[in-house]
C-alpha cells in the first residue's frame, strides 16, 4: 500500500537521454518541465501549504483575487504567510514590508546559485527574468536535481515549464482552500488553517542542515510569545533578529572552536 509513496520519493527522474530528439524544441522542453511536477513529493507539500494559505487569506478577510495575486506575484510561501499574518493582526504597511523583505533575503543567494545552471555564453539577462521570478525553495531544490539531466540550451524552457506547473498547482490549491474555509464547518476550517504552521514547521526543520538553522527555528518559536508581550508592533522582527543572531553566535562559536 505504501509502494506508490515510496516509489514517488525514490524513483529515478524519468527524462529522455540528453541526446534524444525529445529535446529538439523549447516547447518539448517546456512540456518535460511541466511533466516533472509529478516526479516530486514537494508538489504535494506545496499543494497542502497553499491550501492553508488560501484558507488563511479567507479567515484574515482578504479577497480570493488578493490571495491569487499574492501567489502569482510574490511566489514565496513564507513571505505570503508573513504578509497575511502581520497585515491581518494590524501591523502597518512599513512593518509588514520590513518583515517580508527580511524573509526574502534568502532568495538572493538562491537566485545567484541557480541561474548559472541555466546560463549559456549567449544567454541574455532578460531571458533569465522568469527563471529568477520562479526561484523559491522548491524550484531551487528541484533545479539542482533535474537540470543536470537537461541539455543546457533547453534548461530555461524546462524551468519555465516546471515553474508554470508548480504555480498552477498552487493557484488551484489557493482556490480550493479559500472555498473550503468559506464553506466548511468550523472544525474542518480550523484543520485547514492548522496545515500552514505544521507544513512550514516540518519543511523548515527538514531543510535545516546546520546547527544554526535548528537553533534559529527552535528559538524563533520560543522567543515569539515573549516578544509579543512587549506589544511593540514589530514583535516578529524583535524575536526573529534576537533568535537569528543567537543562532549565528552558536554557528560562530562552533566555527572558532573547530
Amino acid at each position: 500500500m505504501l509502494a506508490p509513496f515510496t516509489s514517488l520519493a525514490k524513483a529515478p527522474v524519468a527524462l529522455p537521454p540528453l541526446d534524444s530528439s525529445q529535446w529538439n524544441s523549447p516547447w518539448l522542453a517546456f512540456g518535460w518541465g511541466l511533466r516533472s511536477i509529478t516526479q516530486t513529493i514537494l508538489t504535494i507539500v506545496l499543494f497542502v501549504t497553499y491550501l492553508g494559505i488560501g484558507a488563511l487569506a479567507h479567515d484574515t478577510h482578504f479577497s480570493l483575487l488578493w490571495a491569487l495575486c499574492s501567489t502569482l506575484f510574490v511566489w514565496a510561501g513564507p513571505a505570503q504567510i508573513i504578509l497575511i499574518t502581520t497585515l491581518g493582526s494590524g501591523a502597518t504597511i512599513i512593518q509588514s514590508a520590513i518583515a517580508v523583505t527580511v524573509s526574502a533575503i534568502r532568495l538572493f543567494p538562491m537566485v545567484v546559485s541557480v541561474l548559472p545552471l541555466m546560463r549559456t555564453p549567449t544567454t541574455k539577462r532578460r531571458e533569465l527574468f522568469f527563471a529568477a521570478h520562479l526561484t523559491a525553495v522548491t524550484l531551487w531544490v528541484e533545479c539542482h536535481r533535474f537540470l543536470p539531466l537537461v541539455p543546457r540550451e533547453r534548461r530555461i524552457a524546462f524551468v519555465h515549464g516546471l515553474g508554470f506547473g508548480l504555480v498552477s498547482v498552487c493557484l488551484t490549491a489557493n482556490m480550493v482552500g479559500y472555498f473550503l474555509a468559506a464553506n466548511l464547518t468550523q472544525t474542518l476550517g480550523a484543520a485547514i488553517l492548522l496545515l500552514t504552521p505544521l507544513s512550514f514547521l516540518f519543511s523548515t526543520a527538514r531543510n535545516s542542515r546546520e546547527v544554526a538553522d535548528v537553533v534559529a527555528l527552535v528559538l524563533g518559536v520560543l522567543l515569539y510569545p515573549l516578544a509579543a508581550k512587549m506589544n511593540s508592533g514589530v514583535d516578529i522582527l524583535v524575536s526573529g533578529v534576537a533568535a537569528g543572531t543567537i543562532a549565528y553566535g552558536v554557528h560562530w562559536w562552533r566555527e572558532v572552536r573547530a
Binding site: 480570493l64 504578509l83 523548515t204 526543520a205 526573529g240 543572531t245
Partner: protein, 116 residues
Amino acid sequence: MNYAQPIGDWHALAVLFVAGVVPNQIWRMLGLWFGGGIDEGSELLVWVRAVATAILAGVIAQIVVEPPGALASVPDVLRYGAVAAGLAVFLLTRRSIFAGVVAGEVFMLAGKYWLG
C-alpha cells in the same frame, strides 16, 4: 462564517504590492543583476539565513498562539498538543513532513471530537 468578497478592493491590492511584492522581488532582481560575485557560504549570509528562519518560526508560533479565524475555536491545549504530536511523529519517522502533518491534524480533530 466570515463574509469575504471574491474580488475585494483595490486598496488591499495596492497594499499587497507595496508591502509584499516589492520587498520580496527586490532580492530576486538583485540576484539576477549582481549575481556571480557572491559567496553562498559568506558569514553575512549565514546570519541572514538564521534571522529569516527565526522570523518564519515566529510567524508559525504566532498562528498557533494567536490563531486567526476558525482556528481560534480550537482550545489552546489542542493546538499546542497537535504541534507537539506532529513534531514527535515527524522526528520518529526520520523527518517525514507528511507523517508529521497528518499526525498533528489527527490529534486536533480527534481532540475536538472527544471534547465534543
